[in-house]
Amino acid sequence: MSRPSEAAQSPRPSFGGRINWFKYSSPQSFFPLAGAAIPWFAAAAALFCVAGLYVSFFVAPTDQQQGEAYRIIFIHVPAAWMSMFIYLVMAFWAGAGLVFNTRLSGMMASALAPTGALFTFVALWTGALWGKPTWGAWWVWDARLTSELILLFLYFGFIALTAAIDDPRRADRAAALFALVGVINIPIIYFSVQWWNTLHQGASVSLTRAPTMAATMFAGMILMALGFWMYSIAAAFIRVRCIILERERNTEWVAEYMREQR
């Protein structure tokens, strides 16, 4: 495996259509790439969110059973999707960082964590505000809610571990291992809570959603999810650029970049 930084410093012309993917895995070459991509993702996020909000408030009809309270699910469900999806992407980067020993992977993982934690919190918060009028309780110890709460704790653990270790390389690798352990554990936690829940069928509420979902409702959720997705990419890229500058502050290319900036 060639060292990524070397590959980036000596860009050999690649014959035979072989693309050197590791070229983009060095922080130095990813930095301008991310910078160029951020406005596009931010614009796409704004566009999708506006369209999603329009559909969820003005196009989607009122739900017969839940009334207007159901409009919360237009952010609740996409936020829950994103919270899990971002954790998977984070674990992917973490695993890639451990296997290929690339610096950028760890930076990407730690750049994604706060945004993932944000969406996890949003999913919990909106879930509580949806549950109160619909189920009559702010919080129910149902498998999905409990797993989501544990997911939030896993995000916090990841962030705390990264913050506690001074050496950034060690911090990245330790947090990466923790993310991978977490990704194995989430399904186990989910199924154990679900199993536990079926045992405690006391004052439980039916958690099945309305059986038929209008196509417009689904469209609203998809648009909001796309908006959140694009936002997450933009936020992660902005954060990864901060992390790259913070860690590479003493390198020649950062000095060069600073000279270009003025």
Binding site: F153, L177, N185
Partner: protein, 222 residues
Amino acid sequence: MFKVLRVVIGRDLLLSMRRRADVANALLFFILVASLFPLGVGPEPNLLRTIAPGVIWVAALLASMLALGRMFAADYADGALEQMLLASAPLGLIVIGKAVAHWLVSGLPLMLLAPVLALQFDLPIDALLVLVASLALGTPSLTLIGSIGAALTLGVRGSGVLTSLLVLPLYVPVLILGTSAVDAAAGGVTVQAHLLLLTAFLIFAGAFAPWAAAAALRISLD
């Protein structure tokens, strides 16, 4: 292979016997936490019987978590851990040995002490036996998962709180399975499924956790 295990276990047991106070402190903590609950919620026997499995399990979980710091810290401080990394024996095997030794001085005493505490809560005899069985199957899983957390936070400032932050969410399945086994026994329901699931989790943890903890040790000592 078994020689390595025997040597590591023997060595760690000897070392912890020299620091008996640490072992006793974790046990005292377990007794104290479990005894505080009746004082907190009131002496109503029915209520105590209902919360007993959860209280004893949570107390055992916290006590075993408190002991995690000891697993690698001393060896890390005196450099013995670095020698183990360089040893010809696989690091995962050494971790298994250390986890077994750690369980013998932290998990096993908890397990033996738990029935006495359960009497405070007036648990029926059947449930007592299941409590011991669930702790016997569950606490090794806690030690194994905990070894990953302990290895990751080695030498980090504030590592005690950090370890608990990392490890507690991962403890959830064990806690759920353990308490519901005791609940089922107290309710007169068969507990086979609970104990089988606990065993399955233990096998899973035994297969993966030492390997992950070994990787974590390599990262921490890099």
